[in-house]
Symmetry: D2
Subunit: 97 residues, 4 copies
Amino acid sequence: MEENCCRTTSRDEAERRRLINRLSRIEGQIRGLKGMLEKDVYCADILNQSAAVSAALNAFNRELLSSHIHSCVVRDIRSGDDSAADELMVVIGKLLK
Amino acid sequence: MEENCCRTTSRDEAERRRLINRLSRIEGQIRGLKGMLEKDVYCADILNQSAAVSAALNAFNRELLSSHIHSCVVRDIRSGDDSAADELMVVIGKLLK
Amino acid sequence: MEENCCRTTSRDEAERRRLINRLSRIEGQIRGLKGMLEKDVYCADILNQSAAVSAALNAFNRELLSSHIHSCVVRDIRSGDDSAADELMVVIGKLLK
Amino acid sequence: MEENCCRTTSRDEAERRRLINRLSRIEGQIRGLKGMLEKDVYCADILNQSAAVSAALNAFNRELLSSHIHSCVVRDIRSGDDSAADELMVVIGKLLK
């Protein structure tokens, strides 16, 4: 089993908490969007709000990617594992669509 | 108060249900991401999953935007309200970042 | 043949000039990127520059889309042509990937 | 002066040629867009074409980023240069907007 390098120091634990908090806020925003649809709020207002949720999710993706690069990717490349660079590009390719 | 044109026919009610169902699935995916972080799953696997959530949210945005254009925007422009085109560009500008 | 509504007033002619000028600048930036690759400039510097070119092209797309919505789409919807909304969503779908 | 790691082998020279060819095609597409605006082609057709140019530029960015990661970033991290990961995130942050 691949051990997760992202949780080996207390700094990383704080980072993990921050990421989970970001997701909790996004989960709340998604519920807010559902409430807007249920209450039949004007579509353009819902769209403005859902654009904000997309931006929040992109910010989460960037923070997680940064954490991944600074911990796992650096560690794997140092240990001579060349597949880390390939795997990183697969992930980035999905984020860049 | 702006009345919401997106809910005046049974077809629009079905559309609204579809949009809410999309959001419920996305909410579940966000909770899944939180679980992955809690269980300390390998970051690259979380990133692949969160890229899929971003894609699902983009699909929701496109469907809501299409619904908005076909109902509110068409109605407003027909009724001579020129501000509908300006408002639409504000929303699209946010979605295109 | 579809007549182009985007060029019926002097304001639209100014808009068309602005759009062509944007493209001329982007064309110059692309040539600049080729020069950087030929002169073997450090990749990260080329990437920063090509991210700027992508942003410039997105700004062009947004301006052309705004012009299209304010002229052609408004005109077609007013004249009762419902296909304008469908066609608009096809274009937006491509820009939102 | 930073030496460019992206041009140290014949494989990298082939890669550089491919990247320059991509840019030449994009430059031709930009000129094509200008021609469409000059000839007053229907805006929606220009938008479909400019969405294709954005996609081609994104493909160029992904290929250059992959080349950068597999050569410069791997080399710098192996040589103990921690700033490579920071610099990479700056570049990715710009590409992800």
